[in-house]
Amino acid sequence: MELSFSSKDIEFRDEVRNFLANEYPKNVKEKIENGDPLTKEDIVDWHKSLSAKGWMGFNWPVEYGGTGWSPAQIYIFQNELGLAGCPPLIPFGVSMVGPVIYTFGNQEQKDRFLPDILNFDTWWCQGYSEPGSGSDLASLKTKAELVNENGKDYYIINGSKTWTTLAQNADWIFCLVRTDSSGKKQEGISFLLIDMKSPGIEVKPIITIDGDHEVNSVFFTDVKVPAENLIGEEGKGWTYAKFLLAHERFGIAGVGASKRQLERLKEISKDLGDDDLIAKVSQLEIDIMALEFTELRLLSALEGGGNPGAESSILKIKGTEIQQRLTELFVEAAGEFAIPYGGPDGYGSNVKPNGPEYTNDALSKYLNMRKVTIYGGSNEIQKNIISKFVLGV
């Protein structure tokens, strides 16, 4: 057993640090440091800087243009991004649809979609949730009907998706659609790639309680999708969706980013000299330490060839609880000065309230973070999973 990383890993970590110190787009960095909102272009610039470095496929095998990094390297990479305060990676291409395509897609699909993901030339979004199917994803109703027109097969899509993150920026959407309503509900689901420019698609913003436009409803009315956009077999979509869930597990704990926030909170609480807040921050530091070493334990098991199963639901549950808790303590630190609200876009003028700088976005972050215990399988669902698959009850 040893805590320290190998010299090879340390070299790698320094390389990442060096990149983040020097090549990470300056304008994005500055905005982040000032707490200013990012534009779509900023986000694209940031991802393209990773593409340029060859690091976009940080979790992909070499044969598909990925880095082929070890789990430890992936961990280090994600951790350093968080510690440096980088914007979160948009996961829909590189962490979600990409691995599904290179695992279950055909050669044509791989050639067509993977390079654009690695270059961040295509912005993907995820079409899973529907108004009637949240935690019970398999009950989805969006219908895909196979038709033949002029000798070519198409799916005609009707239905709607909701909570679609950044659909307003997206070029493509990967969807779970119902191709069969007759049997078990999981068995009639297929995995389909849809061009967002297709006629019949309408994107409507959903404004969240922080005042942000991050999520959307996406409506499909007789949208015609070439059958060649089907991934794998018809009716196997549920299998691919579950594969994807397993794939996105790492990094979900967000330890690096949380540690960065924690350091700031430690300074603030000591400056305020508030013993109660100091004790709460200390407890949170212990919680983060425990989470970090839980992730490292799972990582070690993975490196040793083990297969951490539903245990990794802990990472989702505790990781999101900690992310929320951090924002709560910033609000507590801010006191009354949290109340004047600029929202995600700031105060819309140069005049800011007179409170300390950290009070300005304390509440917009708090409100934004309420979603993390709900999405990606709510924490209640995660506990059901642990109950069933770990405890066996």
């Binding site: 309680i209 801010a334 000065f337 949290a338 109340i339 409100l367 709900i374 999405y375």
Partner: protein, 367 residues
């Protein structure tokens, strides 16, 4: 001992409930959030016509002599519907100070306040967290011609006020002066609050003040501030209790109608027990509200201590109830178009006002 409301009090509650039920539709409310004032001037007029703005004033000032119990009823009902109108800043905070001061021109301000003609905000906060109205840095200097310099932060409903009651330091004596919004040397920055109210900061640069603008000084001024803030703390706590009740009821309703896995999610025991916890938190806070409002009504020595217990608990419980309500509403909970997230925002705002939960726990312990 009697913890039942009087018939008159029950009638008042019914009257307010009737108004909120018929006139306070959430989607209607949404429209006023984005107007400049942030509330509905017609409703404010209605409040005046109904006599609600006169409620706590003494009969000599043209009021009804209603006290903390009636105000708690009003705010509890307001809380259920997230009423936006600036009752707290005008009637409770400024109204209390004016009504109980020895200021000789107070009636002219009170009259316009009761009639809804003019608004008046209390400016007492400066730079510190959990600000406690002392250690004032706004300096009122001079003897014959007085001049004011300094900054006041977080003035509730500041953008709608015609006048401000401003706490100043005059020769190391706490002094309250009344200042018109159009006074030379006063500049104002307005902000929206997280819960869609208005809040301002006032900058005074060599603002000249006449002695007839002095509302109160010294011990009287400090006692007035202490009691006005205690009153305000009671009222927002009562509001929070009303909001908590709405939250758990709306959550019960939502979970009964939301189906997942072939059944209403209210069938899941974990959600049931969470809702029970929300109910229990609400009831316990309501009990503390009863203690506080009666202590204030009876003017018992324990009134500050009771209010601190209430505010401390409401801070914790409101946040918990609001967060659980959002969680149980799932994605809908974080959607701006549903009311549930607005309750959460109000809870956070209330916890942050007049000293947060831990501040009041300490105050409770030290008193």
């Amino acid at each position: 001992m009697n913890l039942n409301f009087s018939d008159e009090q029950n009638l008042l509650r019914e009257q307010i409930q009737k108004f909120c039920n018929s006139d306070y539709d959430f989607y209607d409310r949404e429209n006023f959030i984005n107007t400049e004032s942030g509330f509905d001037p017609e409703k404010w007029k209605l409040f005046a016509d109904q006599g609600w703005l006169a409620m706590p004033f003494s009969s000599e000032s043209g009021g009804f002599d209603f006290g903390p119990i009636e105000l708690s009823i009003l705010f509890e009902e307001f809380g259920k519907f997230l009423v936006l109108e600036p009752y707290l800043s005008n009637v409770v905070l400024s109204g209390y100070i004016l009504d109980n001061s020895s200021f000789d021109k107070k009636n002219e301000y009170i009259e316009k306040l009761i009639s809804g003609e003019e608004q008046i905000s209390l400016a007492y906060m400066e730079q510190n967290r959990n600000y406690d109205f002392k250690n004032i840095t706004c300096l009122l200097e001079g003897t014959d011609s007085l001049s004011l310099n300094g900054t006041k932060n977080l003035v509730l409903n500041g953008s709608n006020a015609d006048n401000y009651l401003v706490t100043v330091n005059h020769n190391d004596v706490t002094t309250i002066v009344v200042i018109n919004k159009d006074t030379e040397g006063l500049s104002i920055n307005n902000f929206k609050t997280v819960d869609d109210r208005r809040i301002s900061q006032l900058n005074f640069e060599n603002v000249s003040i006449n002695t007839d603008q002095i509302v109160s000084t010294g011990d009287e001024a400090e006692q007035l501030l202490k009691d006005a803030i205690n009153y305000g703390t009671l009222c927002v706590s009562a509001e929070a209790v009303g909001s908590m009740e709405s939250c758990y009821l709306k959550t019960v309703e939502y979970t009964k109608s939301r189906e997942q896995f072939g059944q209403p999610i209210s069938n899941f025991q974990v959600l049931q027990h969470k809702m029970v916890d929300m109910f229990i938190e609400t009831e316990l806070c309501k009990s503390l509200l009863y203690k506080s409002m009666i202590d204030m009504h009876e003017n018992n020595d324990s009134k500050y201590r009771s209010v601190s217990a209430l505010k401390s608990q409401v801070g914790i419980s409101g946040k918990k109830v609001g967060e659980d309500a959002v969680q149980l509403h799932g994605g809908m909970g974080v959607s701006e178009e549903m009311s549930i997230g607005h309750y959460l925002k109000r809870f956070i705002s209330i916890d942050s006002q007049f000293g947060n939960s831990h501040f009041h726990l300490k105050k409770f312990n030290n008193s």
